[in-house]
Amino acid sequence: MFMINLIGILLIALIIWWFWLFKSKEVSALDHGIVIEVADGTYQPSRIKLRAGKPTELQFLRTDPSPCSATLLIPDLEITVDLPTDQKTSIFLPDLAKGEYPFHCQMQMYKGTLLVE
């Protein structure tokens, strides 16, 4: 029983580390545009580095037909965009101040962050 309990506790620790403590790798969109794929419950990449004070274009390519992925929201920038399937949708971001700007689907199952540095 001891081993089973230990495995259970280790699993719990793993969940906490993997889902909450670990930060995904950031992808830079500093010098060129970036295409973010919207599919299977995720934005890929989901952590995007941007330069402060420089307008940027992001492209979203939705390949997932689930209605969950249909709307992209960047609440801090008051941006709401409908993403058609299998087409790139461009979002033009204005000059942004340094900080983190989360983006997500309507239900927040798809999540990502813009890291403006």
Partner: protein, 757 residues
């Protein structure tokens, strides 16, 4: 009243983007050539060509015709890409939803074809255990068939779960994949290694795996349908825009796609046709039905110089008009954009659900492990079977979707319903605050009253005759845009009295105006102005007071220091203001009238409108202070005005309502814009906000209670007391229908009806 003759303007969050279709680009090297030709056009910021689709997207502050010229000069043909217009996007979305719905239904059928017979077998007492070799073989075949169901019907859950896992996130797919995967894996362990499992625990759960996948696919399919219904309002708005326009080019009338209409094009609309773009009438006379945008049922007369707005219907005559706003800049496009943005914004009430959603799935995974450990450590035999069932059921029953959908679905429907009634709600926060307003400040002129005052009395007190007085007064006021001044000028015009040119004109804010004409000093204004200038009015005060008691505004006109006349102006109350104010008061909202007018007139108007509280003789800059006063008294204050003169007070109020007469209202200046002039729009806005908030609360309550009660139940909390343990299949059905319930409840808001006039 200062009238805004501009078509509404919303702030643009994206710069102008042009999509062009390129013809004649046969090789990949054309891409660079076309892009560089476009980038050389002044104003272009970026140009990016998709060679596979032969389309180019250009962004910048530039006219599309210049871009088309540039491409043509480079040796290719270009035309506007209308494939991404709102209605086509919507069509595409509906088609994609239909395909997705059919796919889900097919997957559901496959899963239930296996799941239902298995479940029926288990219910009628069939052995779901593995003891003999024959049973092992039979269950192995069923196990493989279940694997096929997982592949054909449930693959998207597993792929989604794996992709999310790689991305350090977890979602509904994670829970379903883990739950069904655990049930299947355990069952296969029992099939392959029955002797490694205690005899009482040699139970298989293939029926649970197949049923859960089938039921959740069914729930998702029904949700796709129900979600489609939540966007009906926006569909109707998008449907207002015609697909083609008849423009006059080179003296010929041609029908062209709406996206190809350029600024300054002359557009012709015949009776019964929809106005394709915004513009200004250059020729013709007609009436236009603007009810689809404003909710105002009476058609509006249009003559040369008047504005027309895309999406409205030309009723009686043929009109020629010059396009002043096209494409994404039309009032309709901006309204659609604003409604869409508002539909996707969240009221603060949804924030807690968002925070919980962020942690939900990993927490459920942890609860599932804890539940299994508790059963293994303290549960009766077969503990391992109980542990597997409880862990699986916890994973399956938990529904992050219901929580996530609770707020946005209601906001989608509520904001859409409001838009149908001519009420544009800026965002979720405005929606929520509007639902709990306790006080409403109404500006008098143009809000309670028509805003079109007329001269009713000219009482002479000196040597001048009536026409002279009106001519002098009109001369003095001809430069002013104050509604009272306009009434004087109009009255003079009706009598063909031309205004004369005055000198030394001076406006004295909150008091009146002063000027000279042929060495005569003219003064026109209220009692305060007369007192300030020491004009004797004592003998005429009772006359003025009587006029005020009749809800007229008396103004004094003095020539060379002597009172020459009292001119009374009255602004009739809108016909439905009284009923609308009653509706507000019935909702326990304290209604206060605010006006720059004198106290006696204000009191008389307020009395007729059914208002007991007034702020009269308020200078324009003091309106903000009055709003603040109410807020300090603990009220949640709404302020309704025309959105132009009242902008600071609207901004200070907890919710600012801009009321318009037609489509010329300044949308940008308020939290909520009432596109029709009626105060019923205000009562409707508050009613729809209340209905939406109630709906959100029901959804949130349902989703919280479902999860808070369902998860412990699934973990087996009732087992020690009643011997009850939930089946994973029931959990799957409950989970599938919990989010459907939320969407269906939100759809009930579609039944909301605005006040019919």
């Amino acid at each position: 009243m200062e009238r805004n003759t501009n078509i509404p303007e919303l702030s643009q969050q994206q710069e102008m983007v042009h999509d062009l279709i390129i013809e004649g680009a046969g090789c990949a090297s054309c891409v660079g050539k076309i892009e560089s030709a476009l980038k050389q056009v002044q104003g272009v910021r970026s140009a990016s060509m998709n060679f596979a689709q032969r389309t180019v997207t250009v962004s910048g502050d530039v006219k599309q015709s210049l871009l088309i010229n540039a491409v043509e000069n480079a040796g290719y043909n270009a035309k506007s890409n209308t494939g991404t217009s709102e209605d086509e996007l919507l069509d595409e979305k509906e088609k994609a939803d239909e395909i997705y719905y059919k796919k889900l239904m097919k997957e559901m059928m496959i899963a239930l074809t296996l799941g239902i017979p298995l479940m029926v077998y288990s219910i009628v007492g069939g052995e779901m255990t593995v003891t003999t070799t024959t049973e092992r073989i039979v269950w192995l075949v069923v196990g493989v068939a279940t694997l096929a169901v997982m592949y054909f019907s449930g693959r998207h859950f597993f792929v989604g779960a794996w992709k999310s896992f790689q991305n350090h996130s977890a979602n509904m797919d994670t829970l379903i994949a883990l739950g069904t995967g655990t049930a299947w894996l355990y069952s296969m362990v029992v099939v392959f290694f029955p002797y490694g499992v205690p005899e009482v625990a040699r139970h298989v759960y293939f029926e649970a795996t197949a049923m859960i996948i089938g039921l959740i696919n069914l729930g998702l399919a029904l949700e796709v349908k129900a979600r489609g219904r939540t966007s009906e309002a926006i569909k109707r708005l998008i449907g207002l825009q015609p697909k083609t326009a008849r423009v006059v080019r080179d003296d010929q009338e041609v029908d062209i796609a709406i996206a190809q209409v350029l600024l300054s094009d002359i557009v012709r609309v015949r009776p019964g046709e929809k106005i394709p773009v915004d513009g200004q009438v250059t020729e013709g006379h007609s009436t236009i039905d603007e009810s689809m945008l404003t909710g105002e049922p009476m058609p509006v007369e249009k003559i040369k110089g008047n504005e027309v707005v895309a999406g409205t219907i030309n009723k009686s005559g043929t009109l020629l008009f010059k396009a002043t706003r096209v494409g994404k800049d039309t009032a309709l496009a901006q309204i659609i954009n604003m409604v869409k943005r508002a539909q996707n914004s969240k009221p603060p009430i949804g924030r807690l659900a968002d925070i919980i959603s962020g942690y939900f799935v990993p927490v459920i995974m942890i609860i599932s492990i804890v539940s299994a450990l508790v059963w293994l450590n303290f549960g009766p035999q077969p503990a391992i079977a109980y542990a597997i069932v409880s862990a699986t059921t916890v994973l399956i029953i938990a529904c992050p979707c219901a929580l996530g959908l609770a707020t946005p679905m209601s906001v989608m429907v509520g904001v859409g319903k409001a838009a149908e009634a001519g009420v544009l709600i800026r965002n979720g926060e405005a929606l929520q605050t509007a639902s709990k307003l306790t006080a409403m400040v109404l500006d008098k002129t143009g809000t309670i009253t028509l805003g079109e005052p007329k001269v009713t009395d000219v009482i002479l007190t000196g040597k001048f005759i009536e026409d002279d007085i009106l001519q002098l007064a009109a001369s003095l006021e001809s430069g002013s845009e104050h509604p009272l001044a306009m009434a004087i000028v109009d009255s003079a015009k009706e009598r063909n009295l031309l205004p004369k040119k005055v000198q030394n004109f001076k406006a004295i804010a909150g008091h009146g105006v002063e000027a000279t004409l042929n060495d005569e000093t003219l003064l026109f204004g209220n009692q305060k102005l007369m007192r300030q200038k020491k004009i004797q009015i004592a003998n005429h005060l009772s006359t003025a007071q009587q006029l005020a008691r009749d809800a007229k505004t008396p103004m004094y006109f003095a020539v060379n220091g002597e009172l020459a006349a009292i001119i009374a102006v009255a602004d009739p109350i809108k016909k439905d203001s009284i009923a609308a104010i009653k509706r507000l008061q019935k909702n326990d909202i304290r209604v206060v009238m605010l006006t720059g007018d004198n106290k006696a007139t204000a009191r008389a108007v307020a009395k007729r409108a059914g208002i007991t509280e007034i702020f009269a003789e308020v200078l324009p800059e003091d309106k903000v202070e009055k709003v603040k006063e109410l807020q300090k008294a603990g009220e949640t204050v709404g302020m309704t005005g025309d959105g132009i003169n009242d902008a600071p007070a609207l901004a200070m109020a907890d919710v600012g309502f801009a009321i318009g007469t037609g489509t010329d209202v300044a949308i940008e200046s308020a939290d909520i814009t009432l596109m029709r002039g009626s105060l019923h729009g205000l009562a409707d806005a508050i009613a729809v906000s209340k209905a939406t908030l109630t709906n959100i609360k029901q959804n949130l309550f349902g989703a919280f209670v479902y999860n808070v009660a369902g998860v412990p139940f699934a973990a087996g909390i009732l087992y020690p007391f009643f011997g009850l343990l939930l089946s994973p299949v029931i959990a799957g059905a409950a989970m599938a229908f919990s989010s459907l319930t939320v969407v269906s409840n939100a759809n009930r808001l579609r039944l909301f009806k605005a006040q019919i006039h």
